[in-house]
């Protein structure tokens, strides 16, 4: 019953926060600020994680292929598909849940406990829409863009890795990388990225918006936002995979 109630609150919050902006000029200013903050500030962490994920995936899959009948140049293809289909969208989303989700929950939570949300409401502003909509719009652009960036870097990580480890020649690896590419894998990955960015932003925003008390409660809201965003990502990863890859 408690979970149904929470889910109902979440849906009502979505109804309140999604819609036409009250003042487009103000929305644009906040959107640009949030887009910069979410996108630009996340390049570093996404770059490091993507390169190392690709590198490790190449070594681990290569280790399993050694001695098998499968030709080693297939390694590039397997790593590419693993990166595009799973690692880049899911791991990037999990990292963003920690970085962006925690930030959204603590920012909105602080606004709530310091009466800034009340100040907006008293002025006659729909506070949920004013605060959440620009963040949602920014995240559904920033996170898929970071996922695409991560796809390139993770495959680059794989190339660097095979170059140093010598599991397979770089030319052989690249041959596998370019083999039998199906554009649907990008559609699938971006569908996941859009879904995850929506979940991260809205779940984190609702936790921030429900915060009452002080600094301690803001911290808890932030933690809950990250944990629940991660669970939602994993859950929807499974659902979308089932729906899209086994039609």
């Amino acid at each position: 019953m408690k979970y149904l109630n929470t889910f109902g609150e979440y849906l009502l919050f979505l109804k309140l926060s999604i819609g036409r902006p009250e003042k487009f000029k103000m929305f644009r200013e906040l959107f640009v600020r949030d887009l910069y903050k979410m996108g630009n500030d996340s390049f570093g962490i996404v770059s490091i994680i993507s390169i190392f994920i690709g590198a490790v995936a190449a070594i681990q899959i290569g280790y399993q292929l050694v001695g098998s009948l499968v030709p080693m140049y297939v390694l590039g293809r397997i790593v590419r598909d693993s990166n595009i289909l799973e690692f880049s969208p899911t791991v990037t989303a999990l990292v963003m849940a920690g970085k962006i989700g925690g930030n959204i929950a603590s920012e909105i939570g602080t606004m709530k406990v310091s009466e800034q949300i009340d100040a907006l409401e008293i002025m006659g502003v729909n506070s949920a829409k004013h605060v959440v909509l620009p963040k949602l719009a920014a995240s559904v652009i920033a996170i898929p863009a970071l996922v695409i960036y991560s796809m390139f870097l993770s495959n680059l990580g794989g190339i660097i890795s095979v170059n140093f480890s010598g599991i397979v020649s770089v030319s052989g690896y690249i041959q596998g990388l370019l083999m039998d590419f199906d554009g649907f894998s990008i559609t699938y990955a971006l569908t996941k990225a859009f879904t995850f960015s929506f979940l991260i932003t809205t779940i984190s925003a609702v936790h921030g918006y429900k915060t009452e008390g002080g600094a301690l409660e803001v911290g808890w809201a932030s933690t809950r936002a990250v944990v629940q965003s991660c669970i939602a990502i994993i859950f929807f990863d499974f659902i979308l995979t089932q729906i899209m890859l086994y039609k």
Partner: protein, 242 residues
């Protein structure tokens, strides 16, 4: 004029306000006083629409504030200015942008008109050359003054002040009091102030409502407070050591 009629409010079955009725007149500073936990803040939040009462009526110059559509409520809300206890300035905006916020949100004024009005409001609260500072860079007293400047930015008809003196030194407290009283007179605003500070009450109140255990226990003006035989009010005044 703001009229409250039989306001009842409860949280999780615990009643906090009991049949509160009061009137706050235009061009006057009306104080709501009472002990912490007595229901003052709940009453103010109910008046400005942050909380919805179970029953009762709230009228702003004869306009029903409770039983109207959201869009109509928004129009009345745009006529309300509020000074919060902690200022409630937007952390991510500069002083100038904080004051400009309601203008940018609700008017189509040009950038120059907005800046001109911001400078007027800042000057009115005796602050200058602070436009580009952020709330984290200014003192508590300055935050209150910026809060007042933001509250008067759109020429409100109603001004609500929640504990305007809390956390301020006595000199700054008096400055804030004087400022609120001057603005109330100058712009002919209906001002409602929640306060514990009896010096403020005796200095600037035109009307006083004493809230005790969620009820409007006593009403009068400052001259009647000292001669009142209301035991709870007398105890409250004595406890404030004034």
């Amino acid at each position: 004029m703001i009229e409250l009629k039989n306001i009842n409010k409860s949280f999780d079955g615990k009643q906090v306000l009991f049949d509160v009725s009061a009137q706050f007149e235009k061009g006057k500073c009306s104080f709501v006083i009472g002990a912490s936990g007595g229901g003052k803040s709940v009453l103010m939040k109910t008046m400005v629409g942050l909380l919805v009462p179970e029953s009762g009526n709230i009228n702003f110059d004869g306009r029903d504030f409770l039983n109207i559509a959201y869009e109509e409520k928004k129009i009345i809300r745009q006529e309300i200015g509020m000074l919060f206890q902690g200022g409630a300035l937007f952390d991510s905006l500069s002083v100038e942008d904080n004051i400009a916020f309601p203008m940018r949100m609700f008017t189509n004024w040009s950038k120059d008109e907005v800046i001109e009005r911001v400078n007027f409001c800042l000057k009115r609260v005796n602050l200058e050359n602070v436009n580009q500072l952020f709330p984290s860079n200014i003192s508590g007293g300055m935050k209150k003054r910026v809060g007042i400047a933001r509250a008067i930015a759109l020429n409100p008809k109603y001004l609500f002040c929640d504990e305007p003196n809390s956390g301020l030194d006595p000199i700054t407290s008096r400055l804030i009091d004087e400022l609120i009283a001057e603005i109330t007179q100058e712009f002919n605003i209906t001002t409602v102030i929640n306060s514990h500070d009896m010096k403020s009450v005796f200095d600037m109140s035109d009307q006083v409502t004493f809230v005790y255990k969620g009820k409007a226990w006593w009403e009068g003006d400052k001259s009647q407070i000292r001669t009142s035989d209301c035991k709870e009010l007398v105890d409250f005044i004595k406890a404030s050591e004034f």
